[in-house]
Symmetry: C2
Amino acid sequence: MSDTTRREFLQGAGTYGFAAGVGLTGGVGLAGGARSVAPSGVSAQEAVHPFGYPEEGLDVERTREVGYLGFKGMEIRDGTRHSGCAFGTFNAIVGQLAEVVGAPYTTIPLQMMDWAGAGVVGFGTLCGTLNGAAAAIGLVCDGRDARAFIADLLTWYSETALPTNLYAPTGDLPRSTAESNLCHVSLTRWCRSSGFASGSPERAERCSRLAGDVAAKAVEMLNQGAMGLEKPSEKTVCRSCHYMGPNYEMGQFTHGEMNCLTCHIELKEKKVGPGGHASGS
Amino acid sequence: MSDTTRREFLQGAGTYGFAAGVGLTGGVGLAGGARSVAPSGVSAQEAVHPFGYPEEGLDVERTREVGYLGFKGMEIRDGTRHSGCAFGTFNAIVGQLAEVVGAPYTTIPLQMMDWAGAGVVGFGTLCGTLNGAAAAIGLVCDGRDARAFIADLLTWYSETALPTNLYAPTGDLPRSTAESNLCHVSLTRWCRSSGFASGSPERAERCSRLAGDVAAKAVEMLNQGAMGLEKPSEKTVCRSCHYMGPNYEMGQFTHGEMNCLTCHIELKEKKVGPGGHASGS
């Protein structure tokens, strides 16, 4: 991780930053009135294309509420109504940026990530709250910054007992740690832990709160310019045991940074841990 | 699936369609010179916000090549260079739409989905080619149309021997069926099947071709207005065995439309199939 870049994000003289109403432009065809800003420590070429982030940031708790309410269903600026987990996070971040910054955020259809709900049209893959928030981050910044923020967001999601219940209009709900970034696993583990069925109103309420929590965490990270994890994750990932190289016979891994042991339960029995396979396994 | 809506997509009088250079606008703040088109069979409210698709479509084989080359690395219109699977598909579709249609597609940073590479910043979740293509579809259309296209794209991906080798500048590669939409599973199955390691140049070549194939399939679907699957998928999904309801004790499922048996290998031994658990299991 490029800690220096991340910690300098938005801190000091204008890394991706711009005062409200003055857009950082990039690419072709953006609405008029905007000016390019060459952020400190970032080449102009790297900086011209993301839309940037306001120096004053967004309100974290307001974002949590908007994310929650977006999941339940919300009318957007063109008068249409949208809902769901991916809309919840994407709209909470990009919708607020459109209000605070204006163009070019106002050109983005706030429903462009609706399809990512329930792990992509119900397929149960990547949690829609993460997909929506990551796409919003992808409009704010790119390259190492975007990747670092999103990697930290995914790790936080998989290792935090959620929902936080920081916005809990109907009282606290049971919390569980997903140990995964997949909708299917996250949801199953919460249902098993809480005893509430997947079709229960409590489960829908839980996912509404996750939309709020994930949007809020993304904004908190962007506001700070870094997530500030105090310690590295202790999860067992592919590289705990495998190497990635051109020689098949020597062992290899395929892409993966989630906790291996959540799905590969046979490895848990072998006591595989962060340091690799336990002695004798 | 809403077959009527899908088959009418772009066919006949202007469902989301517009002549090149004449944008279908929505939302707030889009560049001037565009006109709104109320598609047949779709309310104006539903239609005003996606960016739409040109009636003449895009060239499928050109898209396959651009997707492939984008994975390898390509300079975009602002002079920066990008690469990877999610950039490959997103850039192949949105970049071409920016060329053919112009605004509002030109306002989209072509690197906004780069983070989705390798299953989201290397985490191995949703295949980046699918995430990039789905985000592009989310700019073209929304609601039922976007969901239907994306569901079909995910199903096609999981059930087709890939890469197609229709663009094969270095000759044919071994093909495998992913039986999943996850990067980690798709890649592992190809490596096991082909004997090529994850760090091999052949594996990178395989993923380049998938970027081309997935972008091309998405464009083929958008051009046709429907994917045209001749038969429903035979995969075993959650609902083959479980119901989703509020009563935990009666059994339930959590979101999932991938093939259960790819990960839940213990169920394969029980001969669970599309009709549910086999007799006596």
